[in-house]
Amino acid sequence: MYSDLLHALPDVFAWTNFAAVVIGVIAGIVVGAMPGLSATMAISVLVPFTFGLEPLVALGLMAGIYNGAMYGGAIPAVLLRIPGTPAAVATTFDGYPMAQKGEGGFALQVAVVSSAFGGIASAFALMLLAPPLSKVTLLFGPSEVFWVAVFGLASIIFLLGGNPVKGLISACFGVFVSVIGSDPIYGNDRFTFGQLEMLDGINIVILLVGLYALPPVIDLLETPLKTDGVSSSKLGTQSLWKALPRMKSFWKTWLRGSFLGIWIGILPGAGGSMAAFMSYNEARRTSKHPEKWGEGEPEGVAAAEVANNADTASALIPALTLGIPGTAVAAVMLGGLLVHGLQPGPMLFRDNPDIVFGFMWQFLFGAILLVLLGGSLATNSFARLLNLPRPLLGSVIIVLMLIGVYSIHGRMFDVYLMLGFGAIGWVMDRLKFPLPPVVLGLILGGFAEENLRLALRIGRGDPMILFQNTTSLILVALTIAVVVGPTLKKRYIDSRKKA
């Protein structure tokens, strides 16, 4: 089972594949450092540019961006008390007070080393857990696959928090978009309205760019951010080798935060912010000096950063094996895999072992590379990114979005479609409709429909075929638990409060 893992290693060291990880990590840090931009947005913009690339080059870029952005979010969190990514909120608690004391450079180095530690642990978890899980899923037939899709959608809707009605609307919209185009079995057109461009359905990249890239661009242009000029001379950055001994005492926090981050990453719908908060709270609870937390305690930065990076690769465990992404970034990465003809699920491990295991190695190397970028020169350079003018950045991203979407089929129709999805995405974003269920609905909708219809044909039209084996029943029970669980939990908490 693990022999494929070692077999994939030489390919990762091909210079193009390795360079992709390096470029991805640097690009990810740049994106993460810009408040309002995120790894999800960066990967969405990147995906169309990877069409012509080898799969491992494309996946290396994505793995690098994901790792880099999680650390990059710490830069404005420490220097401006503005989290670059949502997962960096907990980093502001102690990072910013450290910067106020003239220890901003050290705070960033703690962040980069902790991020690397979390990322490495997460990559190992992916390598160890995904292969056996994929073997189990190989036993699934059409009805089980259908229930896996339903479970995936249910978990991302109900575990994501927020308003479940809005989550369900998002999912229905995503599934509806997935059925546009030719019917997969009978071939008749559905909702194409005579447009030849729609016959093949809506390309996932068009939806991703519209939903995830356009709203942040509007945000960049809507609110001018004053940084008051970040100067590297105020950071007090020293050599990483001098800084490392001061981090020796963080090992327990790193281990605990990694475990929490990995666990939360595997759970669909949770994500890096929750991991960072839980890790921060646990580290403070067990600290000998909890009163110092919030006033510039370096261990607070370590706790938050290790956990938000530990959920990166682990979020791909359910994504790669079952097709259920744990986070929004993982959902977008699934889109990236589909672009290269790689359908997430058990067959991915059987048919493309070199690519899927190579991707895991790239996650590991991406995390290790972060440490190399923790030196004083790199830290000071990344800090200066905050001085980039946001309107200029916004206009450049608009151009990249257009190039990316146009290059899919070489037609402007896709660009207009992307703008339509972008407008919908902006409204959804502002009204707090979750976006991941839309993407997951698009990915799983067609998949679910095909398997449902296949199962019904096997059962000669009898819907009871969907409930005739133990695995299906377990998946149905899990789906019900996911739907009902949060409501029961809320009622229990409310009744405890009243009591």
Binding site: I169, F191, P391, G394, S395, Y406, R430, L431
Partner: protein, 153 residues
């Protein structure tokens, strides 16, 4: 104090729910021409959208009746509308005038309008971005860009 009847109907969530109901009902019409098995999933999703939107509408109107103010979707509507219009205009310009001319104008124009006013910075950024796009995509990857319908391409 409860909101007035007019403002109650113009709350963003109410308008969105109404929009979804109308759009989903419109898309339901073509499903009647499909085979039942082909129409099953899309019809289920559209009916789901209508039912869920009604629930959203009712919940938002209850909030309005209780006097809960609707959150504004943006603090700077003019900037948001301006940004959307500029992006759409850029796409149309690429389609009708051509990619390079439109891009060379759009980058400095958008940045200038939204607050970055350094002429040298704008010039350098435009040259770097357009030059890099040409070098990587046009020269390096032989990627075709829209050349403009006005010029008969």
């Amino acid at each position: 104090m409860p909101e007035s009847r007019n403002s109650r109907l113009t709350r963003p969530e109410t308008l969105t729910a109404l929009g979804i109901i109308v759009a989903a009902a419109g898309f339901l019409i073509p499903t009647t021409a499909l085979r039942p098995i082909s129409a099953l999933l899309p019809a289920a999703m559209l009916v789901g959208l209508i039912v869920l939107s009604v629930a959203l509408l009712v919940s938002d109107q209850r909030k309005a009746r209780a006097g809960e103010p609707a959150k504004s979707m943006t603090q700077a509507p003019k900037r948001v509308i301006g940004a959307f219009l500029l992006i759409v205009t850029y796409a149309l310009a690429c389609d009708f005038i051509g990619f390079y001319v439109s891009t060379a104008v759009t980058i400095p124009l958008v940045a200038w309008i939204f607050g970055y006013r350094s002429p040298i910075g704008l010039l350098i950024a435009t040259v770097i971005v357009v030059g890099t796009i040409w070098a990587i995509f046009d020269f390096g990857m032989s990627q075709d860009f829209p050349t403009g319908r006005f010029w008969g391409h």
